[in-house]
């Protein structure tokens, strides 16, 4: 008996040790995720069914009054619901040809350089890049140049158009990258097969290329759309207080008027809408292409 139990014991011990190492490796990340992602989310969920204390802040309650009050910020919701999909669509229309060219047409030795040129703006401060357009569209930028040639009093900044332009500028790289990844993985033989079977280039594009790149398109579209739902900088700097997004409403409610329960209800609504967007996008891409989701990185 002792002879047999010895290996079993040491095996159990090594298994225990293995589990301990795994737990230690995962512990910091798990702690971080729980304390700074899960708990804060639970906190705003609790706040969203509470009431505003008389001096601002939070008073415990169990009421849906905050959610019933959502129409009070209807303008912000409306602007976001119109401009976020419009912005994502505009991004997509500009991004697709670029991703297509990079993945299937660009000369090999240029490809990585061009790709790097797309990635760099993605990691560059959105604040600085939005500032660039403030500078260009502002009174001393393009309008001043146009005044030289006789076009006076043209207002470019602080318009919905400027916000849309800023959105396309800010989020274009994020749209290009997933589409590029899905196009780059495309099996080129399928394109040849389609052509060999007598399909026109357009039919090949619609039936093969576009269809197989749909997971990338949906990933890009849903990511851009979700980030736009919470956008604050672009409407603030290029919309100048005229174009309000949900993000502006949240900053106002949390940092200025201190109505935290109402702000929490808006934030929870925002997250729910984001989840719906993700699920719908995932469904569409799985149904249309039969493929699994695309990795982000």
């Amino acid at each position: 008996m002792p002879a047999g139990s010895q290996p079993a014991f040491s095996m159990r011990r090594s298994l225990f040790r293995k589990n301990l190492v795994t737990a230690l490796l995962l512990a910091p990340a798990a702690l971080w995720l729980v304390v700074f992602l899960v708990l804060p989310f639970v906190a705003i969920a609790i706040f969203s069914v509470g009431e505003r204390a008389p001096e601002g802040g939070y008073q415990a309650a169990l009421t849906l009054a905050q959610y019933a009050n959502l129409p009070a910020r209807a303008t912000a919701f409306w602007n976001t619901i119109v401009l976020a999909p419009a912005g994502a669509l505009a991004c997509l229309l500009v991004a697709y040809p670029v991703a297509y060219y990079l993945a299937l047409r660009a000369p090999q030795r240029w490809r990585l350089i061009l790709l790097a040129l797309i990635v760099i703006p993605f990691w560059t401060s959105l604040l600085m890049r939005t500032y660039a357009w403030m500078y260009i569209l502002g009174g001393r930028g393009i309008p001043a140049l146009l005044a030289y040639v006789g076009i006076e009093d043209l207002r470019l900044i602080n318009t919905p158009g400027a916000v849309l332009l800023g959105i396309v500028y800010g989020y274009l790289p994020l749209m290009i990258l997933p589409i590029y990844v899905s196009l780059e993985r495309l099996d080129r033989r399928l394109l040849e097969a389609s052509a060999d079977l007598g399909a026109t280039p357009l039919a090949t594009f619609l039936g093969v290329t576009l269809r197989l790149s749909l997971p990338g398109v949906m990933t890009g579209f849903s990511l851009v759309m979700i980030l736009l739902l919470g956008e604050y900088l672009i409407p603030t700097l290029l919309g100048g207080g005229k174009v309000f997004f949900i993000g502006n409403a949240l900053v106002d409610l949390f940092l200025q008027s201190r109505n935290w329960p109402f702000g929490s209800a808006i934030a929870i609504t925002l997250v729910l809408v984001s989840v719906v967007v993700l699920i719908v996008a995932n469904r569409i891409s799985t149904r249309l292409s039969g493929a699994r989701r695309v990795d982000l990185i």
Binding site: T22, A23, L24, L25, L26, P28, A29, L33, V35, F36, V38, L39, P40, A43, I44, F47, V98, Y100, Y101, R105, L114, L115, L117, V119, I120, P121, W123, T124, S125, L126, L127, M128, R129, Y131, A132, Y135, I136, R140, G141, Y169, L223, L229, G230, E231, Y232, L233, L237, I246, G247, L250, V251, F254, W260, G263, S264, A267, L270, S274, D295, I297
Partner: protein, 270 residues
């Protein structure tokens, strides 16, 4: 199509180029370039508030990126050793940390921390022997933690991708040759994932250094560079801001290029 692609690249880079060009403008106006000068850089760097904000940002970015690199790498290694269910749970949470808009991360962290401090501070005060108990408040710590959340998820994804393409044969050969797990890790696994860890660190640093919206909510009385720049932009556009923007842009470009170079080492992929 080629013309269109060239136009898009011009669209991406011309505005940045203009900002950089006019940071060297001797005059004050964006509409005319009146001569070359570096006076705005001198003005920017002799502004004590700006220098303070820059120092804060550098400290926060370095700390949060270091923490993220350690915890993220550990998590990526740990996730290799767990079952499908635990893995799926972690992947979902890490994905959420990346996808949830910064506004929501900022707000929820603010709410949770303020509530936490409201409980912890009186408790600390009751335990403390003297009249001046330490008071927890928003500041460096909360920004580092909130930035670290995104960064850690990012590092876990980048290192995880590299780990999944790791040459298993080398690991097996190493243990067949009686190397201890630690030796195998040090001499086989670590060298192979190191470029991914460094790239993750650099991107995490860039993210934290550039972030405005999360810090805006959880900074408390602290100022980071983006918060300072945002406040000055709202007061009016000046060439001084162009000078700061140029410095920040150059730093980001450098860091991203370094990160890409690290990721490209050993494996010819983007």
């Amino acid at each position: 199509m080629r013309a269109f692609v060239i136009a898009v690249f011009a669209f991406l880079y011309l505005p940045i180029a203009l900002v950089v060009l006019f940071s060297f403008n001797a005059g004050h106006h964006a509409s005319e370039f009146t001569g070359f000068s570096v006076q705005w850089y001198g003005k920017a760097l002799s502004n004590p508030f700006l220098v303070e904000a820059l120092k804060n940002s550098l400290f926060i970015a370095t700390t949060s990126a270091l923490l993220a690199a350690f915890c993220g790498t550990a998590a990526a290694l740990g996730l290799q050793r767990v079952g499908a269910r635990t893995r799926a749970l972690f992947d979902a949470l890490l994905g959420a940390a990346i996808v949830v808009p910064g506004v929501v991360i900022g707000i929820s962290t603010l709410v949770a921390l303020v509530q936490l401090f409201a409980v912890v501070n009186p408790f600390l005060a009751s335990l403390w022997p003297t009249d001046q108990p330490p008071r927890l408040s928003l500041g460096y710590g909360s920004i580092i933690a909130a930035h670290g959340l995104f960064s850690m998820a990012l590092v876990t994804m980048i290192v995880g991708t590299r780990l999944s393409s790791l040459d298993r044969n080398l690991v097996e050969a190493s243990s067949d040759l009686y190397a201890t797990p630690l030796t195998t890790f040090r001499s086989i696994v670590l060298p192979q994932i190191m470029p991914a860890v460094i790239a993750g660190f650099l991107l995490a640093f860039t993210f934290s250094f550039d972030d405005f919206i999360i810090a805006f909510f959880v900074a408390g009385a602290q100022t980071t560079l983006p918060i300072y720049v945002f406040a000055s932009i709202r007061r009016g556009v000046t060439p001084e801001i162009n000078a700061i923007a140029t410095i920040v842009l150059c730093a980001s470009v450098l860091l991203v290029l370094l990160a890409q170079w690290q990721l490209g080492r050993r494996k010819p992929s983007p």
